[in-house]
C-alpha cells in the first residue's frame, strides 16, 4: 500500500513540474494546466488510499470513512467553482488574496490537528515533527490573517491607506521575535500545550499587524510575499506528515511567490524592508494642496480634442494602470483599439510590472477585452519605441509614467523604472481628478508641453471618444 501511495505521489510531482513548465509560454499554458490537474488527481488518489484511512475503512466501512471527505470536498468544490466562475477579472487580486487565506488556514488547521493527535491524545511527539508543525502553524496563521487583511484592503472593507501607530515596527519585530522564541521552546518541550497554543495564536495577530500599515498600492508585494508564505506553510505540512509531494508543491509555490515579490520590488525600486516597514505613500493634505496649486498649468483637452489626436496618429501606445481596473475601462479600450486599427493605426500596450494591484493584473484585463497578447508589451520591450510613437494614451496610470523617476533624485520614486510616455510626440492622460498617485507626489508628465489631460471617468471618456470616432 505504501508503495502504491508513493508511486502515485511521484507521478503527481512529475506532472506538477511538467505542468508548470507549460506556463512559460502562452500557447502551451493550458496544456500545462491540464497536466497539473491530472497531477492533482493522482495526489488525491494516492491520499484516499493512505494506510491510516484504509485501516479505518476495514473497521468502519466506506460511508463512515469517507463521509467527511466527500461532504467537504463537494461543498468546497461548489464554493470554489462559484467564486471562480463569477468573479469579475478586475477583482482578481481579491480572489487571489482570499485563496491565500484559505491555503494558510488549511495548513494551520492540519498542524493543530496533528499536534492534537500525536501530543494531546497519544502523548508523544518527537522534536523534528514538532518543529515542522511549529513552522506550519506559524506560516499558516500568518498567511491566513495577513491575506484576510489584504483582501479587506483590496475590496475596500478596510481603509486601503496605511494604518500606522507609534513604535509600530519595533513592536511588530519584537512580537515576531517572541513568536520565534515560543516556536523554539515548544520544539524543545512539545508536551507544553500552553506554549503550543500561544505559539499558534501569535501569528494570527501578527498577520493583521504586519499588513495594516501597508498601503493599497504596495499590495503587489504583499500578495506575492503571502503567496510565498502559503507555499512554505504547505511545505512545512509535508515535513510534519513525511509527505514528499507536499514538500515539493509547497517549495514550488514558495519559490514562485519569492520570484514575483523580487520582480515587484525591483519594479518599484524598493527593498522588501522598505515595503514592509516603510509605511510609504502617505497621501496627506500637504501634497494635495501642492498639486492643486500646480494644477493650473496643465493643458486640458476635451473629448473631441482627444479623439482628433488619436484619429490622426499613426501609432499609439496605451499605458494602463490601476485606474483602468477601477473604472472597468478595459473593454472600451479594446473597442477604441479596434476602431484605430481599422483606421490603419498601430496600437500596442505598455504594461508596467506594478501597474494594478498584483503581478500581471493589466494583462489579464486586456486579454479579457479580447486584445491579442502579442500586442501586450513588457516595459523593457517597448520603452525604446515611445520616442517613435505619435500618441501615448495613459489610462488610469500615474506613478509608473512619472518622468521624475528618471531624472529627479529628490523624488521619492527616483530610480524606479518607468514607461517613457513623456517621450511620445504627444501624450493624452485620462484622469479622474488632479489627485496624486499613491506615492503622493506630483507627476511632471501632466505639466509637459506635449501632454494634454482629459478629466473624467476613464470609461465614460473613452466611450465618448469611441462614439466620436465611429
Amino acid at each position: 500500500m505504501v508503495d502504491q501511495v508513493e508511486t502515485l505521489y511521484l507521478i503527481a510531482s512529475f506532472l506538477f513540474i511538467l505542468g508548470l513548465r507549460g506556463l512559460t509560454a502562452a500557447h502551451t499554458a493550458r496544456r500545462g494546466l491540464i497536466l497539473a490537474e491530472l497531477g492533482m488527481v493522482f495526489a488525491i488518489w494516492g491520499t484516499v488510499i493512505h494506510p491510516d484511512i484504509m485501516a479505518h475503512l476495514e473497521i468502519a466501512g466506506f460511508f463512515q470513512t469517507y463521509k467527511w471527505i466527500l461532504l467537504t470536498f463537494f461543498i468546497g468544490s461548489a464554493i470554489g467553482i462559484a467564486i471562480s466562475a463569477l468573479i469579475p477579472m478586475t477583482r482578481m487580486p481579491e480572489r487571489i488574496a482570499l485563496s491565500h487565506a484559505f491555503g494558510g488556514l488549511a495548513a494551520a488547521l492540519v498542524g493543530v490537528s496533528e499536534y492534537y493527535r500525536e501530543q494531546v491524545i497519544a502523548g508523544h511527539m518527537d522534536h523534528t515533527t514538532m518543529g515542522a508543525i511549529g513552522f506550519e502553524v506559524l506560516f499558516g496563521g500568518l498567511t491566513f490573517t495577513g491575506s484576510l487583511m489584504a483582501f479587506g484592503k483590496l475590496s475596500g472593507l478596510i481603509p486601503g491607506r496605511n494604518i500606522t501607530w507609534p513604535l509600530q515596527n519595533q513592536s511588530n519585530i519584537l512580537m515576531f521575535g517572541g513568536t520565534f522564541v515560543l516556536l523554539i521552546a515548544v520544539t524543545i518541550d512539545p508536551s507544553n500545550q500552553i506554549l503550543f497554543y500561544a505559539m499558534a495564536a501569535m501569528p494570527l495577530l501578527l498577520g493583521i499587524l504586519f499588513v495594516a500599515p501597508i498601503g493599497g498600492a504596495d499590495m503587489p508585494v504583499v500578495i506575492t510575499l503571502l503567496n510565498s508564505y502559503a507555499g512554505l506553510a504547505a511545505s512545512a505540512t509535508g515535513f510534519a506528515l513525511d509527505n514528499n509531494v507536499l514538500i515539493i508543491a509547497g517549495a514550488i509555490d514558495g519559490a514562485s511567490g519569492f520570484i514575483l515579490s523580487v520582480v515587484m520590488s525591483k519594479a518599484m525600486n524598493r527593498s522588501f524592508r522598505n515595503v514592509l516597514f516603510g509605511a510609504f505613500g502617505k497621501v496627506d493634505e500637504e501634497d494635495e494642496a501642492m498639486v492643486a496649486a500646480g494644477g493650473e498649468r496643465v493643458q486640458e483637452a476635451s473629448v473631441g480634442d482627444a479623439a482628433m489626436l488619436l484619429s490622426g496618429a499613426g501609432s499609439v501606445i496605451v499605458c494602463p494602470g490601476y485606474g483602468m481596473a477601477v473604472a472597468q475601462a478595459q473593454h472600451v479600450v479594446g473597442e477604441l483599439a479596434e476602431i484605430l486599427e481599422a483606421n490603419g493605426t498601430q496600437v500596442r500596450y505598455a504594461i508596467h510590472p506594478v501597474a494594478g494591484r498584483m503581478p500581471g493584473h493589466m494583462n489579464v484585463l486586456l486579454a479579457e477585452a479580447k486584445i491579442p497578447y502579442t500586442s501586450l508589451m513588457e516595459l523593457e520591450e517597448i520603452n525604446e519605441d515611445f520616442k517613435h510613437t505619435d500618441v501615448a494614451l495613459v489610462v488610469g496610470a500615474n506613478d509608473v509614467v512619472n518622468p521624475a523617476a528618471k531624472h529627479n533624485p529628490a523624488s521619492s520614486i527616483y530610480g524606479m523604472p518607468v514607461l517613457n510616455a513623456d517621450l511620445a510626440r504627444s501624450c493624452i492622460v485620462l484622469k479622474r481628478s488632479m489627485r496624486p498617485g499613491f506615492a503622493g507626489i506630483e507627476n511632471e508628465l501632466f505639466f509637459a508641453p506635449n501632454t494634454v489631460l482629459t478629466f473624467g471617468d476613464a470609461k465614460d471618456t473613452l466611450t465618448k471618444v469611441v462614439e466620436a470616432l465611429s
Binding site: 468546497g76 484559505f102 493543530v112 491524545i121 520570484i259 500581471g360 489579464v364 491579442p372
Partner: protein, 102 residues
C-alpha cells in the same frame, strides 16, 4: 540518514527547480501563475484528507474536515480560474481565430 534530512534535500532541490522554471514565466502570465501555484499548493488537501478520513479522534477529524473544505476551494477554484484566464489569452485577432479554435 535522518528522515528530516531527506525532506530537506527534497525541499532544496524542488525550490531550485521551481525557481528555474518559474523564472521563465513571462510577466504576461504572472496572474495565472499565481492562481496556478495557489491551486497546486492546495495540495495541503492531501494532509487534511488524511486527518479527516483516518478518524484518529473527533478534534482531528473536525479540524481536518474544515481544512479539506478550505483546500478544496483552492484546488478546484484555483484550477478553474486559471483556465478561465488562460482561455482569454489569444494570439491573433479573436475574430479570425474563433473560426478555427473550438
Amino acid at each position: 540518514m535522518l528522515e528530516i534530512f531527506l525532506g530537506l534535500y527534497i525541499f532544496m532541490l524542488a525550490a531550485f527547480v521551481g525557481y528555474g522554471v518559474i523564472k521563465g514565466v513571462p510577466a504576461l502570465l504572472h496572474t495565472p501563475l499565481m492562481a496556478f501555484t495557489n491551486a497546486i499548493s492546495g495540495i495541503s488537501l492531501v494532509g487534511s484528507l488524511v486527518a479527516a478520513g483516518a478518524h484518529y479522534n473527533n478534534v482531528s477529524t473536525v479540524l481536518g474536515a474544515i481544512a479539506v473544505l478550505c483546500a478544496t476551494i483552492n484546488v478546484v477554484g484555483g484550477f478553474w480560474i486559471t483556465d478561465r484566464m488562460l482561455r482569454m489569452f489569444k494570439k491573433q485577432d479573436p475574430k479570425t481565430e474563433s473560426a478555427g479554435d473550438s
